[in-house]
């Protein structure tokens, strides 16, 4: 080996080391679902474009992730540079000054293309604090073959009375077919989310304008009684333990006539690899009671940047890429249009290729557009959020109230007792939080 060769090799090694030293590592906290896993798999396209940025993924179960990133951001631990957060966290954390404002995204990002309701859910005073990776509302998924056999024609926008009739007609307990599957498992993101959305369409609300709990109202009594009746008469056995996954399994095995849940489930139940009823599924908007609000929610898993990160610019580059139109095209190229993260951009719903690949696209868009997190209820309220109340105390209160709802569903207490307990515990927490005297 000549001296020159050795010198050249040394210089190359040094350059390589220098490049490595300059590489910035982004630690990204995310949840385990199909779309997020796909993003990890496709992220090599990003690192090829940006060799100066390395990505380190921390994937956790939703509740663990929430606890983990809340601890980190509240203490300014600085463990993460990009956080996967939902529409519940964004307004609360933004008001605390914990998130970086995303008001300087590049022009080609086309922020105006974001669906208005999703953008509103991720903004505080008109400033965007997180960008949506995928958005969802809730809707009715029903078995077209069972509906036909029962002589029922599903309208695009059913009422709760129609759901009751359809559930009765489709229930065939001897053959383990249950008219309607709904969330019963206790938790602020499980049964509380469902029942709150349902109650909104009955004219109920969590609080009046002075933050007084309203579980003792007639609207709550009616909504909750109807929920219990539907679950007890036409629901699956043990529904007090059923959440999204349990109902998904039941529906995929042909055991639910209707399933009212997240729009994101549409791609699961129509996937012939996993679902035995893939070609027999119809979609309708979440039910209403003619009061101007439907029983659907709004949620968006989004990417936010914690204030104080030392890699703010790199993090902005990444979140802009992961939620861009180009990323949607990358997914379509690799996995097909049906697998593009739904519910975030208007342009996706104007794309004929997507509309053709995803039967549920139109109903998903309508459901998302029908949701208004700024005015979630029939009567005015002092909070934002549809299936949740965007205050820090809600995780605790929502879960405690959900436990009361689940106890009533399991037959451990009456509807009146459960609502009274919900009223009392909410009152106590709101007093402790200083909202009311």
């Amino acid at each position: 080996m000549t001296k020159t060769t050795r010198a050249l090799m040394g210089a190359t090694a040094l350059c390589g080391m220098a490049a490595l030293a300059q590489a910035e590592t982004l630690t990204i906290a995310t949840v385990n679902n199909g779309d997020m896993i796909r993003m990890q798999e496709l992220s090599s396209a990003f690192t090829e474009m940006h060799p100066e940025i390395e990505l380190d993924w921390v994937t956790l179960e939703e509740n663990v992730l929430r606890q983990r990133v809340t601890t980190d951001i509240a203490t300014r631990g600085g463990q993460y540079d990009v956080l996967t957060i939902g529409t519940y966290e964004v307004p609360i954390w933004a008001n605390q000054g914990w998130l970086v404002a995303l008001d300087d995204l590049p022009e080609d990002y086309d922020v105006d293309d974001l669906l208005p309701s999703i953008r509103a859910g991720l903004s505080v005073d008109g400033t965007l604090y997180a960008v949506p990776f995928y958005g969802e509302s809730s809707m009715v998924m029903y078995r077209t073959d069972l509906a036909e056999a029962a002589g029922i024609e599903f309208p695009e926008a059913p009422t709760w009375d129609f759901i009751k009739e359809a559930a009765a007609a489709m229930t065939d307990k001897e053959n383990e077919v249950y008219g309607v599957c709904m969330r019963g498992k206790a938790g602020w993101g499980e049964n509380t989310a469902f029942i709150t959305s349902m109650a909104n369409s009955y004219g109920a609300r969590w609080f009046d304008e002075n933050w007084m709990p309203q579980f003792d109202s007639e609207a709550w009594q009616t909504a909750f009684s109807d929920y219990l009746m539907l679950q007890n008469e036409y629901g699956a056995p043990g529904s007090a333990n059923n959440g999204f996954n349990e109902n998904l399994a039941l529906f995929q095995q042909g055991k639910c006539g209707m399933w009212i849940d997240a729009t994101v489930a549409a791609s699961f139940v129509t996937n012939p690899d996993d679902s035995t009823v893939a070609d027999k599924v119809g979609f309708a908007l979440a039910p209403d009671n003619g009061l101007g609000k439907r029983g659907n929610w709004l949620w968006a898993w989004s990417l936010g940047i914690p204030a104080g990160t030392d890699a703010e610019d790199a993090a902005k580059t990444f979140v802009a890429w992961a939620t861009s139109k180009e990323y949607a095209e990358l997914v379509a190229e690799n996995e097909g249009w049906a697998n593009v993260p739904p519910g975030t951009r208007t342009s996706l719903y104007e794309n004929p290729a997507y509309l053709e690949a995803a039967d549920f696209a139109e109903m998903t868009l309508e459901s998302i557009n029908a949701a208004d997190p700024q005015n979630p209820t029939v009567d005015p309220v002092p909070y934002t959020g549809i299936q949740f109340v965007a205050i820090p105390e809600f995780q605790g209160i929502g879960t405690a109230v959900g436990q009361q709802f689940a106890a009533a569903l399991a037959g451990q207490k009456s509807a009146e007792e459960a609502l009274q307990a919900a009223q009392d515990l909410t009152m106590q927490e709101m007093k402790a939080g200083g909202y009311i005297q």
Partner: protein
């Protein structure tokens, strides 16, 4: 006749022991079986136990998606490190409590045990802040320290119980032969308490290996052990039971193998002094 009754009773105990053993092991067996199913078969009702199309696809998916060996190595370092550090502190502590008890030794022992009664989440924020300030977040060193501290009461208690069974006269004789305190602990006490120390070590490795609160809350990407690896496959919105089972099987396999090979030692140590 008496012999026949005895044999029948023995058979009854054996069958009962097998039934209890299988009932305890069943969740692990079910997890392992599910890990070889497809996602559709994993949720099928009624579930099939043996007659399904076995696949190793979940394992290849898990290996492809996650860095198993990094998590495994972190688990090894954290569990062994915290156990060895715990033993180094606990052996002299247990010696002093067993052989040179003071007026308040029992109270000290009870106080140590009482620290285990505190819900960990109660001290999460203070520990998180301390770790942040001293740069121990997401480090194996930080987890070794925390797990040593949380398991120390158990280590001290177990060793104290074993040491109490050793006659003090033997240690006295070694002192009369001129052994220093260090020699007494290392060359006389420790060899006699090997079964107890070994079972304490094994039990603490298992406890540290399975610890999921601190290991999830104090780590991010670099020091995350196998508990974080399992948590990454759990999902409230999406059915990934087969993959979750594969990840769980991979996480518990090392400790199952360790437990299998050391079961004699473990049982011997745990029953040390139980029958006089």
């Amino acid at each position: 006749m008496a012999r026949a009754v005895s044999t029948r009773r023995k058979a009854g105990y054996t069958i009962a022991a097998w039934i209890i053993g299988l009932a305890i092991f069943f969740p692990i067996l079910w997890t392992i079986v599910t890990s070889f199913k497809t996602e559709a078969e994993a949720i099928s009702s009624p579930p099939s136990f043996m007659f399904f199309q076995w696949t190793t696809e979940n394992y290849s998916t898990v290996m492809e998606r996650s860095n198993y060996f990094r998590h495994f190595w972190n688990s090894v370092v954290i569990s062994l490190g915290s156990t060895v550090l715990g033993l180094i502190i606990a052996i002299p502590a247990a010696w002093s409590m067993a052989f040179v008890p003071a007026k308040h030794t029992k109270n000290v022992l009870m106080w140590m045990l009482s620290t285990k009664m505190l819900p960990p989440v109660g001290v999460l924020i203070p520990i998180y802040l301390i770790f942040r300030d001293v740069g121990l977040l997401d480090t194996k060193t930080g987890l070794v320290i925390v797990l040593t501290l949380i398991n120390l009461p158990i280590i001290v208690w177990m060793l104290y119980t074993y040491f109490k069974e050793i006659p003090g006269e033997i240690l006295e004789a070694s002192r009369m032969d001129g052994a220093s305190l260090r020699d007494e602990i290392i060359y006389v006490l420790t060899p006699m308490a090997v079964p107890g120390i070994a079972s304490t070590l094994l039990l603490n490795v298992i406890l540290a290996w399975n610890e999921a609160f601190w290991t999830l809350n104090l780590t991010a990407a670099k020091a995350a052990p196998l508990t974080a690896f399992i948590a990454s496959y759990s999902s409230p919105e999406g059915l990934f039971y087969a993959k979750l089972s594969a990840a769980s099987t991979m996480a518990i396999a090392p400790i199952l193998i360790l437990g299998w090979f050391s079961q004699k030692q473990l049982v011997r140590g745990l029953t040390f002094g139980a029958v006089k």
